[in-house]
């Protein structure tokens, strides 16, 4: 008698399928882990480190060798000098070893006690160096005729130094100063306000403008395809090209926009669109709207064209006017896609860096959180503080995405 109950647990076929699935996903997972997850962990680590741009080069021992005195005849005596130095003024180097090859015919008459000579090969154990260590190691040498003839220099073979530098990136020093700095700075709240203004106004603006564009193209006419392609231009063009074009167009001295407004009598003196305080923020937000309205336009148009036309015919029969139809029929149908777009665009505008960086460089009151990362890390050369700002951004994003997934699971589509 056979059982009518399906087998429980994982069968060999299922196990094989799961193995295959993980195998197929492996390249993606591994690469994502290396390029995305690892840097994310690194940024948390760095944000607790007192580290500047200059500390990226680990401390290393350095040597500069030269001969003091003349060695122009056989038997002449001079001094071989190694100027030794720790490249870092803050961190020690341990276990320093120097190796060098002496030129043919040069003999060291009195070896430094730390050094040993094996044929022409010189090797020295120089021990541990303090931060900012510097020393001149001198050894008397004599030259033979072959050295004089060969015109060899001691520097022909470079001295090789090895040692363990303790980079601040990997040692056990941690600090909360980066975060203290980020939060206490007067500018933090202004940065936060700029970010919120840019994100909220930019997102809503792009949605509204996209909706208007979709409304005027949601009808059959010749050239609709061309218009649709045209409307996508700002989004498809490289950001660097359009951002610099805007800068050129709105330049206070040679910009066409100012010349046009002057000629039309709208203004008396040229306006520095990207350099004045409230105006620059408005301009970068307008740029954001201009560049990303095509995306919302495309989605809203796609949704509109999938709405059943029967509904509108019925409404027409019942005497609903066009505006009433839009309010009572189209808008509710579009609400789903509009809210999904709002959430996604909100996160993406929040993350945006290139646009503002290229337009104003974060000056004139346009510094958002993302631009602040760059500003702290590279302009002020404080990598730790930059990483701390990045951690703040990441925390905000986690918050958004919790909300996002709560919401999106109720929504259709994505």
């Amino acid at each position: 008698m056979t059982s009518s109950i399906p087998p429980a647990g994982t069968g060999p076929l299922q196990a094989r399928e799961a193995r295959l699935a993980w195998g197929l996903l492996a390249p993606t997972l591994i690469s994502v882990a290396i390029v995305i997850i690892l840097p994310l962990i690194a940024i948390f680590w760095i944000s607790f480190k007192p580290i500047g741009l200059a500390d990226l080069r680990p401390p290393a021992p350095e040597a500069y060798e030269r001969v003091r005195g003349d060695l122009d005849v056989a038997g002449a005596e001079a001094t071989l000098e190694y100027r030794l130095k720790n490249s870092s003024r803050e961190y020690p180097v341990t276990g320093v070893r120097l190796t060098d090859v002496l030129p043919d015919g040069l003999t060291i008459t009195e070896l430094d006690p730390r050094c040993a000579l094996d044929g022409a090969a010189l090797s020295c154990d120089l021990g541990d160096w303090e931060a900012g260590f510097s020393e001149r190691m001198r050894m008397p040498v004599t030259a033979s005729q072959s050295f004089v003839d060969s015109e060899a220099e001691v520097r022909d073979t470079a001295a090789v130094l090895t040692g363990r530098g303790n980079s601040v990136l990997f040692n056990g020093t941690f600090t909360l100063e980066n975060f203290a700095r980020v939060f206490s700075a007067d500018e933090f709240f202004s940065v936060l306000w700029v970010t919120l203004f840019y994100t909220i106004v930019g997102t809503i603006g792009a949605l509204v403008v996209g909706l208007m564009a979709a409304l005027i193209l949601d009808r059959d006419f010749k050239g609709q395809g061309i218009m649709r392609g045209l409307f996508l231009f700002p989004y498809v063009a490289p950001v660097i090209a359009v951002a610099f074009t805007w800068v050129t167009l709105f330049d206070p001295f040679s910009g066409s926009a100012n010349a046009l407004l002057l000629q039309m009598g709208a203004i008396d003196t040229p306006i520095n669109f990207f350099g004045e305080r409230p105006l620059a923020l408005i301009m970068v937000t307008v740029f954001e709207i201009w560049r990303y309205f095509p995306l919302s336009f495309l989605f809203i148009l796609a949704r509109m064209q999938s709405i059943d036309t029967d509904m509108y015919e019925a409404a027409e029969m019942d005497g609903a006017s066009p505006f009433q139809q839009f309010r009572a029929l189209s808008l509710p149908q579009l609400l789903g896609i509009l809210s999904v777009l709002f959430l996604l665009r909100f996160i993406w505008t929040f993350n945006k860096f290139d646009d503002i960086f290229l337009l104003t460089g974060g000056n004139a009151g346009t510094r958002t959180l993302t631009v602040n990362v760059y500003e702290q890390a590279f302009a002020i050369s404080n990598i730790g503080a930059g990483a701390a700002v990045a951690v703040v951004i990441f925390a905000c994003l986690l918050l958004f995405s919790v909300f996002f997934f709560r919401f999106i699971s109720q929504e259709e589509g994505l």
Binding site: Q14, A18, L20, A21, W22, L24, L25, P27, T28, S31, V32, P39, L40, A42, I43, I46, L56, L169, L215, I216, R228, G229, L232, F233, Y235, V236, A237, P238, I240, A241, F244, T245, W246, T248, L249, S254, S256, N258, L260, Q263, M264, G265, L295, L298, F299, A302, S321, W348, N351, D354, F357, L358, V373, Y374, A387, A390, I393, L397, F405, L414
Partner: protein, 404 residues
């Protein structure tokens, strides 16, 4: 509101608004194309627009009304009392051109806006339809202008000389007598600034990114779409999460890592990063498409003795060529336009990508038209690709949905 629902009120009102729109449009277009001093006059535009609206409503049945309207507007502009005013030094030809353009842009479209609007009382439908016709016309003008003007300025600035640009920033007319010298900025970019090489590097990087992305994401997407395994639901969610991580947050540790590993200033370093940033998007787009394919075809293949990998290669991939084209194009666009990583990781001018090369031109020592020429060089290839394959591109964008 209800007071407006009367033909003799609505038509002049819409006419006045349309005339202001058209006057601004003609003034901007004429200024930008000839450099002459044209400016719109709001009050005159309102008056003449209202008159035109009234006339077109009153005599719309007459066959001569349009021609008469265009002729009248031209005459008004020539006389200097039209909706568009010309400066004293503007030549007669330019003035005539502006007048005809204004007449043609004002009268026939206004006739269409008014349509069959009754002369007396209007009901809600008739009124709203007329308003919508006006708004649609306004929308075409507005959107076309805001999209095209920056690109027009970009191209024309790149063809000007520095002195001409400073003398009159509005004059975008081409001095054809300069002949080949018009393209001087482009020639200098390719000859002295190594732009030919940057172009090749960008093509290489973008094509490689597309290839690697597809190589990684096709199997992954297939696994998520078709195969059953623990953690599948979580997988498709985390994909979305991953591409919400901002690039600048990743760029900092990547910069540090690359500095220490000596991978900065290397195309291979760039090629290690670019595909990984696009793999999640591509995977997400492709798995959606794979889910839509009928599973029966693949099952038939399995029954006939193919293994899974052969099924993917021989059945799924040929069926999803259009999706691969869309995803490929979309990834190409992202890689081609990428700026932040190229800017941070490349300092050596012999290894720049095109976007990095253009960023280099943004300096006070290099003239503006070189910068704009660089922008054109970066924009043209992606635009050609986009216009040629618009169908795929649009689909790719809608499926990729969210990436900024």
């Amino acid at each position: 509101m209800k007071r407006l629902w009367y033909g003799y009120v609505t038509a002049p009102l819409l006419g006045a608004l349309w005339a202001v729109t058209v006057a601004v449009l003609v003034a901007v277009v004429m200024s930008f194309s000839t450099g002459d001093a044209f400016r719109p006059s709001a009050s005159l535009a309102l008056i003449w627009g209202a008159a035109a609206g009234y006339a077109l409503l009153r005599w719309r049945a007459q066959p001569w009304v349009r021609a008469a309207g265009v002729a009248l507007m031209t005459a008004l502009v020539m006389l200097g009392i039209g909706p568009v005013l010309a400066g004293a030094e503007v030549s007669v030809v330019s003035r005539l051109l502006a007048g005809v353009a204004l007449g043609l842009a004002l009268i026939p479209p206004l006739r269409r806006i008014i349509g069959d609007l009754p002369q007396g009382d209007l009901d809600r439908h008739e009124f709203e339809h007329a308003v919508i016709r006006f708004l649609t016309g306004f929308g075409y003008v507005f959107f076309t202008a805001i999209v095209l003007i920056p690109f027009y300025v970009m191209v024309m600035t790149s063809l000007k000389s520095q002195q001409a640009l400073l003398a009159n920033p509005l004059d975008f007319s081409l001095d054809l007598s300069r002949g080949l010298d018009l393209f001087r900025s482009y020639i200098e970019l390719f000859r002295d600034f190594n732009f030919g090489r940057y172009l090749l590097v960008s093509v290489f990087v973008s094509v490689m990114t597309v290839a690697i992305t597809l190589l990684f994401s096709v199997p992954g997407a297939y696994a998520v779409a078709r195969l059953r395994f623990k953690g599948r639901a979580m997988m498709s969610r985390s994909i979305l999460l991953i591409y919400m991580v901002p690039m600048i947050v990743l760029a900092l540790p990547i910069y540090i890592g690359f500095s220490m590993a000596g991978l900065r200033n290397s195309i291979w370093g760039i090629l290690m990063i670019y595909p990984v940033t696009t793999v999640p998007v591509a995977l997400y787009m492709l798995q959606g498409y794979f889910r839509g394919l009928p599973a029966e075809v693949e099952e038939a293949g399995l029954m006939d003795g193919l293994n899974r990998l052969q099924v993917i290669w021989k059945i799924t991939l040929p069926l999803s060529l259009p999706a691969l084209a869309s995803v490929g194009l979309y990834v190409f666009m992202i890689a081609w336009n990428e700026f932040l990583l190229a800017f941070m990781l490349l300092d050596d001018p012999s290894k720049f990508t095109l976007t990095r090369g253009v960023a280099m031109l943004n300096s006070s020592e290099i003239p503006r038209q070189h910068l704009m020429a660089g922008a054109v060089i970066a924009t043209v290839p992606i635009m050609v690709l986009f216009l040629g394959l618009e169908r795929f591109m649009t689909r790719g964008l809608t499926a990729g949905s969210v990436k900024g």
